[in-house]
Assembly symmetry: C2
Homo-oligomer: 429 residues x 2
C-alpha cells in the first residue's frame, strides 16, 4: 500500500485548475457564463466532466433525465452502499462559474483525495461506491421548475412530466437531452448519503468573517405561474376605456407581489423573475402575459397567507383591468431540515480539522434539499463575495475555494467511514 500523502495544497490546486477548465465553456461578453440546461454550452461542460471521470477510472452512467453519475468502486467487500457527492453544471443566463460548477469540481478532486487516503490506510470506507453526480436543470432558467434532475431522481417529479417540459422556444427537455447526447438509459446506484458543497449566495459568512457554513434547513417556497389574458388591439385608436391590457394587469400584479414581502409579519421574500408577453409588439395592446412568481419563507404559515393574498390580488386586478388572471401551475415546496445525525458528524469532522463552521438556513433551493428526502444529506457553503450570484459579478476567492475543499474532504473522510446503521459516539472522535 502506497503510503504517500500529498500536500493538501496540491489537491486544492487541482480544484482551482479544474474550475478554470470549466470556465472556458459558455463564457459571455460581459464576463459571465451561460450554460443553460441541456444546451450546447452546458453539453461542452458535461462532455469535459465525463472525459475527466473516465480518465480517472470512473464508470459513467447517464440516466433518462440526463443526470451524470461517475461511479468509483472503492472495492469494499462487505457493503453495497453508495456515497454521492456533487452538484450541477447548468447556469443562469449570464450567471457565474461557481454556482453548481464548484461543487462538481470539488466532488471530482475529492475522489483523488479519497483514493490516496484509502491507499495510505488513513480512511477505511464503509461505502462500496463513491459517486460524483451532476444533476440536470438545477437552475430553472431554461426549463422550469428548478431542481429537475434531482427531483426526478428523488421521486418528486415523474420522468415523463420532466420530458414534457418546454423551454421558452417550445423545445422539449427530452429533445434537448437527445440533441446533446444526454438522454441516457443508465441506472445509478441508490444513494446512502449525499454531500454537496455550494456557494452561499448570501452575505452571512462574509459578515461573520468565516469560510464554512453547515446548512441546517431550507426555506419553503410557493412557486406559481399566472397567465393574464387581455385583448390584442391597436395601441393608437382603441379608446382607453375599452382596452383590456394584459401588461397593465401584470404590472399591477408585480407591484402586489413586491408588497407581499414588504408587508409580511414574518420574514418573506417574493419575486417575479420572468414574464413573457404576447404579441409584444409596440403598436399592439398586450394580449397575454405569463408571470413566474415565487414566494419564499421559513414559515409555512406565512407562505399560506401569501398564497391566499395573491389569489385576492388576482381577483381585484381582474375586476379592475377586465383581464382574466389564472394560475397555470402551482408548486409548494415545504421547509426542509437536513439530517441531524449527519450534521453532528459533519460538525465533529470540522472541529477535528480545526474549522468552526457557521450554521445557516438556506433560502435558495439546492439539489441536496431534494436528496434529503431519499438519504441523509449534507450541504456545505463557502462565501460568495458581496452575496452576489446569478450574475457575471459572482465570485469566490481562491482562499475560500481551498478552505471549502479542505472542509468538504474532512467531512467526506468521516462520513464515508461510518458503518451502516451505526452512530459515531463522542469517544469515536
Amino acid at each position: 500500500m502506497d503510503s504517500h500523502i500529498s500536500d493538501p495544497r496540491a489537491f486544492q490546486d487541482q480544484v482551482l485548475d479544474l474550475l478554470q477548465a470549466f470556465g472556458t465553456f459558455g463564457k459571455t461578453a460581459e464576463g459571465g457564463y451561460s450554460r443553460l440546461a441541456a444546451g450546447p454550452e452546458e453539453k461542452r461542460a458535461r462532455d469535459h466532466l465525463c472525459g475527466w471521470l473516465r480518465d480517472h477510472g470512473f464508470t459513467v452512467i447517464i440516466d433518462p433525465v440526463g443526470n451524470i453519475f461517475g461511479v468509483l468502486d472503492l472495492c469494499v467487500t462487505d457493503s453495497e452502499r453508495a456515497f454521492f457527492c456533487g452538484s450541477h453544471l447548468d447556469s443562469q443566463p449570464n450567471g457565474g462559474n461557481f454556482d453548481g460548477c464548484l461543487g462538481v469540481v470539488c466532488a471530482c478532486v475529492a475522489a483523488l483525495f479519497l483514493k490516496e487516503r484509502i491507499a495510505a490506510g488513513q480512511v477505511h470506507p464503509a461505502f462500496r461506491y463513491y459517486v460524483v453526480t451532476c444533476w440536470t436543470g438545477e437552475e430553472g432558467a431554461r426549463f422550469q421548475p428548478s431542481l429537475i434532475g434531482s427531483s426526478v431522481f428523488s421521486g418528486a417529479l415523474h420522468l415523463e412530466d420532466a420530458w414534457r417540459l418546454r423551454d421558452g422556444d417550445g423545445i422539449l427537455l427530452k429533445d434537448a437531452l437527445q440533441m446533446t447526447g444526454y438522454l441516457g438509459s443508465g441506472e445509478a446506484p441508490r444513494p446512502d448519503h449525499y454531500l454537496e458543497l455550494h456557494i452561499e449566495q448570501g452575505t452571512e459568512l462574509e459578515r461573520a468573517g468565516r469560510a464554512i457554513a453547515l446548512v441546517e434547513a431550507c426555506w419553503g417556497a410557493e412557486k406559481l405561474r399566472v397567465v393574464v389574458t387581455g385583448k390584442a388591439d391597436h395601441t393608437g385608436p382603441t379608446p382607453m376605456a375599452q382596452r383590456r391590457n394584459a401588461l397593465l394587469a401584470a404590472s399591477h400584479l408585480v407591484v402586489e407581489i413586491e408588497a407581499l414581502a414588504q408587508e409580511a409579519r414574518e420574514t418573506l421574500h417574493s419575486s417575479v423573475g420572468r414574464m413573457v408577453l404576447e404579441p409584444n409588439s409596440p403598436n399592439t395592446i398586450v394580449e397575454r402575459a405569463e408571470l413566474w412568481i415565487e414566494v419564499r419563507s421559513p414559515s409555512e404559515a406565512a407562505l399560506k397567507r401569501a398564497a391566499a393574498r395573491i389569489d385576492e390580488s388576482m381577483t381585484t386586478i381582474s375586476r379592475q383591468s377586465g383581464c382574466d388572471l389564472a394560475v397555470s401551475s402551482r408548486e409548494r415546496r415545504s421547509v426542509v431540515c437536513f439530517d441531524e445525525t449527519a450534521l453532528e458528524d459533519a460538525e465533529r469532522a470540522l472541529a477535528d480539522a480545526g474549522i468552526g463552521p457557521l450554521k445557516l438556513t438556506t433560502i435558495a433551493g439546492h439539489d441536496a434539499v431534494r436528496l434529503q428526502s431519499v438519504c441523509p444529506s449534507t450541504l456545505l457553503f463557502v462565501p460568495s463575495q458581496n452575496g452576489i450570484t446569478h450574475s457575471p459579478l459572482e465570485f469566490t476567492t481562491d482562499a475560500d475555494v481551498r478552505a471549502g475543499f479542505e472542509a468538504m474532504t474532512a467531512i467526506l473522510a468521516r462520513l464515508i467511514s461510518r458503518p451502516a446503521g451505526a452512530r459515531f459516539k463522542e469517544n469515536d472522535r
Copy 2:
C-alpha cells in the same frame, strides 16, 4: 378605342379575390396573419404582388429600403407627374389580412379600372404614371419605428439609419431585406399625389352607420424607448432591501403611463406595447427592462405635458427602486393635416358618386401621413368590425370592401384628371 365599361361589381369581385389570395400567406393557427416586415411570410406576399404587377404590364422597381413600386405608364405626353396609390403588406404578429393589404389590393385593381376608363375616354389623365406602392415596415412590429419605408422615401429617416435597425433577434433590416430579395437599387419617380385606402381601426364609421371616411388629420405622438437597469441576483436569498429589480421599476412605469391617459386634461392615449426583460429567468432578479412607450394626442401641448410627466415619473421611480431609468430613443410625431384642396376634390368626387363620407381624424399613423410631407395625400377609411385590429378578429365585410373600392376609384378618377397646378372650380363638377 375600346369603349367597353365593365359592371362595377366585376372589379369589386377582383378586389375580393386578390385579397383572398394574399390571405394564404402567413396564416396563423388562431386564424390571424403574421407577415412581419422583411420576413419569409411577407416575402411570399411581396412576391405575389410583384408577379401580379408584372402580369398586368407594370414595371416593378424595388428601392434600397425595400419599397415596391409598380409603375404603369399612362402614355400622357405632356406630363411627367406620378400618381401614387398603395399601402403596406406587413402585419402585426397574429394580426389581420385587411390592415395594409386591403389598400395594396385596391390600388392594384384600381389600375385595371383606370385603364378601362381611359380607354373608354371617360377619364383623361393629367399624370403620366400610375404607381402602385407597397411600403416597407409600416407596422413597427418586427423593426421599430413604424412607417420605415415611407419615412425613408419622404426624407424623415435616413436610409443608413433604417438599414441599421435591428429586430428582437438582432437581425439588421438591411440583411433581412437582402435575405428576402428586397434590398433593391431602383429609384421610383417622385410622387405628385398619394392616395391610400385603409381600414379605420376604430368604431366611428360603424357608429355613424357609414361606409366611407375621409381623413382630415392625424394625431401627434411621442414615442419613447426607456431602458431600466437594475442588478441581477438570486431571487431567493438576496435581501429584499438590497434588490434593484428592473421589472418592479418597469411595472411602476407601466402603471404611470396608463395614469397619463386617465388624468390628462385633453384627449390622450398612452400605451406600453412591448417590453423586453433580461435575463428573464425565474430565479434571477431582472437586471434590464426595455419599454416601448407611446403617447398620442390631437394636442401638441398635451403631448409636451405628457413627455415632461414621464421624465418626472422616471426620476421618482429611479429614486424609489434604486434602478437607473434612461430614454434610449425619443421620436416626436407632429399633428399632420391632410391637403385641404385634395380633401375638397375628394369630397366632390364622392358627392358625384352619391357617397356621403364621414370626416375623421386618424389616431393611428399611416404611410399617407408621411407622404403628405412630400405631396398632397388623400387617406380614405372603410369600417373595421367592432373597431378591432392587430388581432385575428380584425374584419371588414365584403360590402364595405366593395364600397371602399367604389369610393377610392371615384376619387382616383377625379384627382388623376386634375392638371398640374390647377384647381377644380365648382362648375367643373
